[in-house]
Structure formats: structure tokens, C-alpha cells
Subunit: 404 residues, 2 copies
């Protein structure tokens, strides 16, 4: 069987008119002789409204019941799609997590799909039916409804593609693909045709609008090619796939950035084993994400300067935590709340020397000061003053020929 | 186990604040050492909104998917109640139709409960839990979600009471009981403490605001005593039970009425076998309910006059159907769209002679003309001019001592 898994996000099924549009997309694959499995999110707004109700009932709403509550959103949307396909003369039915069943492990509201029982769906596909699977939900070994944590219905679609050995997994969403940089900021941003899982993960700041990093990781682990497309415009979209599937002469795939960072510098920290751990322990425990970290070697071997970046919104809390941290000693605390991070991402830099130089040189020519540098195998990030951000993105986008 | 089944209607759980109130009612029974099983409707408005969506998708929405769609409403409300009870420190969980399971037969959207599997709920009750059962829903032999036709969650509650041999079945709703007549029209209407199933069925025009006739019939067949109470006021309510449980010196239990009737008279119908069937066949086939029917014996044995009543809204259609009916011959068609029906209901009239006389005499004294009479074992109905309706109800309510 030539199987395709189609995933529709909340905005794609956000109204009955949009559900009618989505039904036409589904039928277009049937006409191309595919067997189609659909995974759908709840209509946009529905989940938020249910979450609001749960908060009114309790500020600590029981996770087991939260899952029963919010999973009703996908129950609605999948029955509406199936109803529409029937109206148009196609055999279709909704499949809830417990009906397939989709088995999950882990805690309520943060479960992971362990296995999908195939027999019922295969039989239904063979009978000519179009199964509309409620995304985001499954059941655990106690036959309680569970929901999948971050990634939600994307994860459902990826696991359906894996278990049913689908030829395609297409994520229909409200953007038409992944861009070389944010098209809202940089007019010359171009849609990327093919990108590797790794690059996509490194471009999370742009990619998260398209897919949650968790889902990209799921796809990567299961070697599922993902095609991200718009459900509103009939355009090719972006394919996320293995590195070796990509034939491209581009060294850099894209320029990503985060706007509202803050830099914290501790001057004259008493340098002894475990001091970094002592600094970061209370920060991590308060769920504050530390991004870049740079430690300067101390000249006298007794003191060191340590710089790290966090989100601007966490700055106040971080300062408080550092000041009341009795395990550390430092002479001075300097903060800068007006910095931004720019990154270039691309698997091409592994085999191409001089990328770092080209990046720094391009920024220098525009008098953009680099505050902190951090690198990974396929990404180079620099911290710049926020006023320089837009210029930095533009010059790097041009330097690495992303406009073409 | 001392089990009580509590049913909450849509208005009783119509907001998160009302769900909080309902949770307190549930706890009050736990404090009285009852094992409580709750059956809940969807929050008021939710089902209508889902039905509206289904109509936007298709004017002939598939019944199988309709059941999946609308059953999500009870899924929400039962998880919210369970969540609230947990918040207050009580062990509680939601039980959906498929989790118990509740097995149904019959068509989708009009199923009937066939059996309720007891083991899971009994075990849960014994563990000290409060099961919150999603009303209105079950599953069929194909593991598809079904919904129960008219009566909905009332029927769920009654069947739960039957299968779990509950000591009490309490229907919490937005009215505080059944009245001797409509308290909105007649100020002297009194709440009825105890009423028999049969009387309640005959008072459907009043009782339907409290319970669907289908559910009363379910309770009657299964010999389940029903206590109808308000979830907003802590008042005794009305008990619906077997005739023999009722010790009361009241001959008449109540005065019911329907306002907007219409009377149709066919003059000079050719009297031959099967003519009544020929007249009513197209009317029934068009789903028009015929209420009272009176046929006068023809003087010459060849012609007859036939009078019947219908709802006013069906009058136009009925006239059309009669005029184009080729199987019947009549001389004249007379209609009256300004008539109303008044009924006195009570098991006492079986053993008490003269009730009919007292009724007619009381109306005559007030110069109220009786147009048509129809009787059953425990009910006498008369058709009067609409302008006389209010007076007729008042005088009968007084005549049979219902004010005391």
C-alpha cells in the first residue's frame, strides 16, 4: 500500500469552512491513489478554552482528568472531518486513541507513544476507508486517556508514519515552509526546499513556528521525512530529511536569531572546582534556560570572569538568585538587557573551512561588535547589541548567498 | 453498599462555578455515608454549539460521527467535576461510556442502554472513589461511540440506578419539582411531593420540563424511584414512584394544559370501512401528531363528521394534506386555530365516581364551553376556546383542592 500521513494543525481546522478546505486536500491524495491516514489537532482556540476551564476549577487540576478534558478537542475535529468526507461521498470515520489503540508510556499530559496497533487501521484502509485519527491522544495500560506532551499532533503523525511505513508524512500548517530567515523581518528571506533534521533543530528559533523541536527529534530518530506545507496555499513547502539526502551547494542553510536576550557577567568569581555548578544550580532549578556560557581563564589562577545569556524575561529573577547564592563569591555583577543572538546554521560548514572567518569579517565590515561567540558542529552563534540585530541578519543572509 | 445515583442536567453544570456547587452536593451525600455514582450532562450550550457545527459541515451529518462529536460534551463536564472533587481532597475520576463499558443497542443517536458492566465501577466504589459517569453515551458492539436518544442523561442515571441497585436516584435540574399546574401561569400552583409514573406521564405537558416522557417510562419499567430536585435550592423536590407507594387523599394530582392547539373538522365524510385510516395515513407519514379524535355517528349511516386536534403549527400542512387526499370524500372542512386543551390527571379518579361530572359542572358554572372531550383511565381532557384557558385551569385547580 502507498500510504501517506497528513497532519492538520489547529489553524488548518480552525473553522467549519477550513475543515471543508482540508477535506478537499485529503481527497486530492485519494485521487492520486494514495491510502491516506489523517492526524488532526483540535480546532484552534478549543484547547485554550478547555485549559481555561480547568484552571477555573483548580489551580492544580489533576493531570489524569486534564487529559480526558483536553482530548475532547481532537475528538470534535476528527469527527467533523470524517463527517465532511462522508458528505462528499467518501468512506471515512474518526478513530480515537482508545479505538486504534495508540498505547503511550510516561506521565499524564506528557506521555510518549509506545506503539500503535495496526490491524484495525490496515483493515479499514484496505476496505477503502479514510481513517481520521484524533491527534495528541492515546491510552495507557490502565485504559485511561493520555495526551502527548510537547509536539502533540505532530508526534502522532510521525509515529503513524513510522508504524504504517508511510511513503510521505505531510505536516499541513499555517506557514508554507521553513525560510532562510524570518520573512517578517527580512524581505529577502527565501523558502528552503530541503533541510536536514540537525539544521532544523539548530534553527529552532525559526523552526518552532513550524514544528516543535521535540517532533523534529522524533522524526530524526525514526528517519521519517517530513514535508511541511501550508493548508491555505497550494505550494511545495519544505522537506525535512536526513543529511545524506540533501544535495546542495549551500554552505549555510539559514540565519536564525532570538531578539530578547540578556547577558549576565560575574566579575572576579573565586575560581575553585565546582564553582560553575554552584552558580547554575539555583538557576536551573527555577526553570530558567541558560543559553550561551563563556568563562575567561583567570590571570592569577584564583579568580575568573563568567558570562552567560538568558531570556530577558528571566533577568530579574536570575539577578536575585545570584545575589542570595551563598555558595559563590564574586566582586561585581554586570547585566546587559539589550542584546540579541544571531546564528548561522548549515551542515556545509563541517566540510568547508573559513566559515567562521567569513561570518566575523562580514559583521566587522558593518561595524557590528561581537559580544560573545558560541559554536556547535553545524552552527555559529554570536551575541550582538540589539540595535545591530537587523543589520547583522541582513549582512549574513547576503554573505552566504541565501537570497538566491 | 448504600448506593445513590445523582444526575446533573446541563444547566446544573452550566459553568465552572456551577460545577463547584454541584461538587458540594456530591460531597454532602458522601458525608451521609452513601456510595455516590454521578451521571452528568454536557454544560448547557455545549451540545447546541456542536450540533450547529455538524450542520455547517453537512445538512445530513453522518449519525456515527454525530455521536462521536456530541459525546465530547459530556466528556468535558465529567472530567471537570472529577477534577473539582480531587481539588477538594476526594478520590474521583471520570468514566466514559467505553471505559465502563455501557453497552447500547439500536441506531446511532437513538440508542438504548442494553447493559452496564458492573465490575470496574464496583471495584472503584469499594476503593472509596466517586465515579463521574459521562451521561448520554455508550458504545455498540463495534466499539463505536453511541448516544442515547430522547431522555439522554436521565436514561443513563436510571439505568445506572437499576444495574447498581441504587437506593436512590436523584435527578438534579433547574426546576425544584413537579407542580400541580404551571406555576408561571397559576400563582396558586403547589409543588407535588409524590406522584406516580402514570400520572407523571399523563402530565407530560408539564412534566416534560422536568423529565422526558421516555425517561419516566424507563423508570416505570425498571421500578426506579426518582427524586427530582433543584441543584440551585436545597428543597425536597418531587418523588416519582409506583402507584401503590402513594398514600394521598387527593383525587386529582394536577391540571395540565397545552396552549396552542388547532381543531380540524371534516363534515359529511363518506362513511365506509377504513376511511379513518385513509384520513390519518398521510398526516402520520408527515410526522404530524394527532391528539384528540372524535367521530360522530352518522344519522343516515352513510356520512359522518370527524373532528381531531393537532398542534397549531401543523395546521397549514394538515389542511393541504386533507385537500389533496384522493382517497377520501367530504363536504366541508372547518378549522379552529384558537383552541387549547385542559386536562385533570390523577389515579384517584379510578376509584372515585363523579369526577367527570365535577369537572364539567365547574367549567359550566364559569360559562366555559367544552368543544371536545377525551378520557383515559387517569386523565380527562377537554378542548376549550383559548380565551377560556386560564380561567379553566384556575377553576379546576380550585375545584379539586390543589391549592392546599
Amino acid at each position: 500500500m502507498k500510504i501517506v500521513v497528513l497532519k492538520f494543525g489547529g489553524t488548518s481546522v480552525g473553522s467549519t469552512n477550513r475543515i471543508k478546505r482540508v477535506s478537499k486536500i485529503i481527497i486530492s491524495y485519494i485521487k492520486k491513489k494514495y491510502k491516506v491516514i489523517v492526524a488532526t489537532s483540535a480546532m484552534s482556540g478549543v484547547t485554550n478554552e478547555l485549559v481555561r476551564k480547568s484552571k477555573e476549577i483548580s489551580n492544580d487540576f489533576l493531570a489524569e482528568e486534564y487529559d480526558v478534558l483536553v482530548s475532547s478537542g481532537e475528538q470534535m475535529s476528527c469527527s467533523l472531518i470524517a463527517g465532511r468526507l462522508n458528505h462528499l461521498g467518501y468512506k471515512s470515520r474518526s478513530w480515537l486513541g482508545w479505538q486504534i489503540p495508540i498505547l503511550t508510556t510516561g506521565n499524564h499530559s506528557a506521555s510518549r507513544i509506545k506503539s500503535i496497533y495496526k490491524k484495525n487501521i490496515i483493515k479499514y484502509l484496505k476496505s477503502g476507508g479514510i481513517p481520521i485519527v484524533a491527534g495528541f491522544q492515546g491510552i495507557n495500560s490502565h485504559s485511561r486517556i493520555t495526551t502527548i506532551g510537547r509536539g502533540g499532533t505532530d508526534a502522532s503523525a510521525i509515529m503513524l508514519a513510522r508504524f504504517f511505513k508511510a511513503q510521505k508524512c505531510i505536516i499541513y500548517t499555517d506557514v508554507d515552509g521553513v525560510y532562510t530567515t524570518d520573512p517578517n523581518s527580512i524581505k529577502k528571506a527565501k523558502k528552503i526546499k530541503v533541510i536536514s533534521y540537525d539544521e532544523m533543530l539548530e534553527m529552532a528559533s525559526l523552526g518552532s513556528k513550524v514544528m516543535q523541536p521535540h517532533s523534529i527529534q522524533d522524526a530524526r530518530l525514526n528517519r521519517i521525512d517530513i514535508n511541511v506545507k501550508s493548508s491555505f496555499k497550494n505550494l511545495p513547502g519544505t522537506i525535512i530529511t536526513k543529511r545524506k539526502n540533501i544535495l546542495s551547494d549551500k554552505i549555510i542553510r539559514g540565519v536564525s536569531f532570538t531578539k530578547n536576550d540578556a547577558k549576565v557577567t560575574l566579575i572576579g568569581v573565586k575560581d575553585k572546582p565546582g564553582v560553575a555548578a554552584s552558580i547554575f544550580e539555583p538557576i536551573y532549578k527555577n526553570s530558567i534556560n541558560v543559553d550561551m556560557v563563556v568563562q575567561n581563564i583567570s590571570s592569577n589562577g584564583k579568580e575568573t570572569d563568567l558570562t552567560f545569556t538568558i531570556k530577558n524575561e528571566d533577568l530579574f529573577k536570575t539577578q536575585k538568585l545570584l545575589k542570595k547564592n551563598k555558595k559563590i563569591n564574586f566582586r561585581k555583577l554586570i547585566v546587559d538587557s539589550k542584546v540579541s543572538k544571531v546564528s548561522i546554521v548549515g551542515v556545509g560548514m563541517i566540510t568547508t573551512p573559513g566559515v567562521t572567518y567569513r561570518m566575523f569579517n562580514a559583521l566587522a565590515k558593518k561595524n557590528i561588535n561581537i559580544i560573545v561567540i558560541s559554536t556547535s558542529e553545524i552552527k555559529i552563534s554570536v551575541l550582538v547589541n540589539r540595535k545591530d540585530l537587523n543589520n547583522a541578519v541582513k549582512v549574513l543572509h547576503k554573505e552566504f548567498n541565501l537570497e538566491k
